[in-house]
């Protein structure tokens, strides 16, 4: 499975209702050890929502410093985004992913996101 197979795919819940499209994939570094890198990046979940330009540009992240007018413009997109944990994903098909949850169950993709600044 490639990252490009997941990105932009449509995500539907078990009733076949649309949740949105995959905008990004959240990884967490706690997988099996891999060479000099260390613990592998495990697929934690899919960031799913409507509209994707804001995500692609990285404007919707809380740590972005502005410009405020853009943040305002993309704020709606951000609020519509949910994280679908990988253990809820049942099937990855061509351009269509089925997840074992209903849209309302998803939680805000950034709710648990610590804005870790990098050196």
């Amino acid at each position: 499975m490639r990252l490009s197979d997941l990105l932009e795919a449509e995500v539907v819940d078990r009733n076949g209702d649309r949740i949105g499209h995959v905008h990004d994939v959240r990884l967490v570094q706690d997988g099996p050890p891999l060479g000099t890198w260390g613990a592998a990046l495990r697929l934690e979940g899919l960031v799913v929502g409507r509209g994707s330009i804001g995500t692609r540009l990285g404007i919707t992240r809380p740590q972005m410093k502005g410009p405020w007018i853009l943040k305002l413009l993309f704020a709606r997109q951000r609020s519509s985004r949910v994280l679908v944990p990988w253990d809820r994903v049942r099937d990855v098909g061509q351009d269509r992913i089925t997840a074992d949850c209903v849209a309302a169950e998803g939680h805000d993709a950034f709710a648990t996101d610590d804005p870790t600044p990098r050196p």
């Binding site: 692609r56 540009l57 990285g58 740590q63 972005m64 410093k65 502005g66 600044p117």
Partner: protein, 409 residues
């Protein structure tokens, strides 16, 4: 002295960007036709390029990432590729025009047809890129471009009616006998010329090539705040001397030879010598900038090693792109396509593509992951956001105006 030489990147970028073959003629044409009533377009462009070049230089200095690298990452592989194709196409046409432009400058000094100069000029551009260190290149051509200051001297020598020039600049209006679309078409041509994307491609890549570090951010500012306004002042001088000499005599400017004439009238032989050196340096700088930018943009999109800092063998794909672009451009120039018309159109086309280049810079300059504490200030965000609005309006208005005025005819 070393400090002084440190700002040659900005001077080179600005002179090659604002006073390339098409812009020299455009500035002269607009001066003759509209006197100073389009000075605002140059001023607007200079402020814009100062804001965005400072940002691009700061991003390149802090994150060591040049503009096209950011374009690909932020707008994505697909839209980034569309931008790459558009930028390369515009860049290539400009390169062809500049190769012809350098040859035209040599024709003025030799009375030997410019087409005969093209092979030699192409070779010279290539050898500079192949063999000359980035810093040396930037110092030689940046300083040679300063010969154009003679245009400001010429303005002084012409003893113009300053208040009338000022009035024309500060009370812009569509000159009688000219249509409003033509007026705005030339306005966009001047604005587009000062904000041509190859300037930020070149400037930000240059900052990476020169290994600017955080401590060099002051150097970035100095380059931007000195180089670009200087380039703008030279453009305005050319516009003013053309207005003073040509407008009363009903001369319309068509050729590079005419653009040098006011300086000859005012300063004589020394003026002519200096302005020919200046024209050569400016067009040659533009040729270098566009030739290198063709390599920079493609390499930075695909992640290939680029730059003049490493041995050519170690940046093989980059040098192949530059070489092939240069040869192709020389062949196009040899078809005797009018370089002045060609740059006029490419500048206007570039104006239509401006937001694609400047938007990713603005976004990344706000990202603390890249910039740490060097993110944009509120002021530069406010200004840059305002300019994004202008750029969008310009990019929408450009093509219809071009068609409506038949290219400013």
């Amino acid at each position: 002295m070393k400090k002084l030489l440190g700002v040659t990147l900005g001077i080179l970028t600005a002179v090659g960007g604002f006073l390339d073959i098409g812009d020299i003629v455009t500035a002269s044409v607009t001066g003759a036709r509209f006197r100073m009533s389009l000075a605002w377009a140059v001023l607007l462009g200079v402020i814009g390029i100062v804001i965005f070049a400072e940002m691009a230089g700061r991003v390149a200095t802090v994150s060591h990432r040049p503009v096209f690298d950011l374009v690909r990452e932020r707008v994505g592989a697909r839209l980034g590729l569309a931008n790459l194709l558009a930028s390369y196409f515009i860049n290539f046409l400009t390169l062809a025009a500049e190769v012809a432009g350098v040859s035209l400058a040599l024709q003025l000094a030799s009375d030997v047809n410019y087409l005969l100069w093209i092979p030699l000029v192409t070779f010279l551009v290539w050898i500079v890129i192949w063999r000359v260190k980035f810093e040396t290149m930037e110092q030689v051509f940046g300083l040679a471009g300063l010969a154009l200051i003679v245009m400001a001297v010429a303005l002084w020598q012409l003893h113009p009616d300053w208040s009338s020039l000022w009035h024309s600049a500060s009370h812009p209006e569509v000159t009688s006998g000219e249509g409003a679309p033509t007026y705005f078409y030339f306005g966009i041509a001047l604005f587009g010329a000062t904000m041509t994307p190859y300037e930020v491609f070149f400037f930000s890549s240059g900052a990476v090539e020169e290994h600017w570090q955080r401590s060099d951010l002051i150097l970035n500012r100095a380059n931007v705040y000195l180089g670009f306004p200087l380039g703008g002042a030279l453009t305005l001088s050319l516009m003013a001397i053309s207005a003073v000499v040509f407008a009363p005599m009903n001369i319309t400017v068509e050729h590079l030879s005419q653009a040098a004439l006011p300086t000859v009238v005012a300063v004589g032989k020394i003026g002519l010598a200096l302005i020919l050196i200046g024209f050569f340096a400016a067009t040659f700088s533009a040729a270098l900038e566009t030739a290198l930018s063709s390599g920079y943009t493609i390499s930075q999109y695909f992640g290939w090693q680029w730059g003049k800092l490493v041995r050519p063998k170690e940046a093989a794909r980059f040098h192949v792109v530059v070489l092939v672009s240069l040869i192709g451009a020389a062949l196009l120039a040899l078809t005797a396509i009018d370089p002045v018309k060609l740059t006029e159109y490419t500048v206007v086309l570039a104006a239509a593509a401006l937001p694609l280049t400047y938007f990713p810079i603005l976004v990344v300059a706000n990202d603390p992951d890249f910039m740490g504490d060097k993110v944009n200030s509120r002021l530069s965000n406010a200004l840059a956001t305002g300019y994004m609005g202008i750029l969008v309006v310009v990019s929408v208005a450009t093509i219809p105006l071009m068609i409506a005025t038949k290219g400013g005819a």
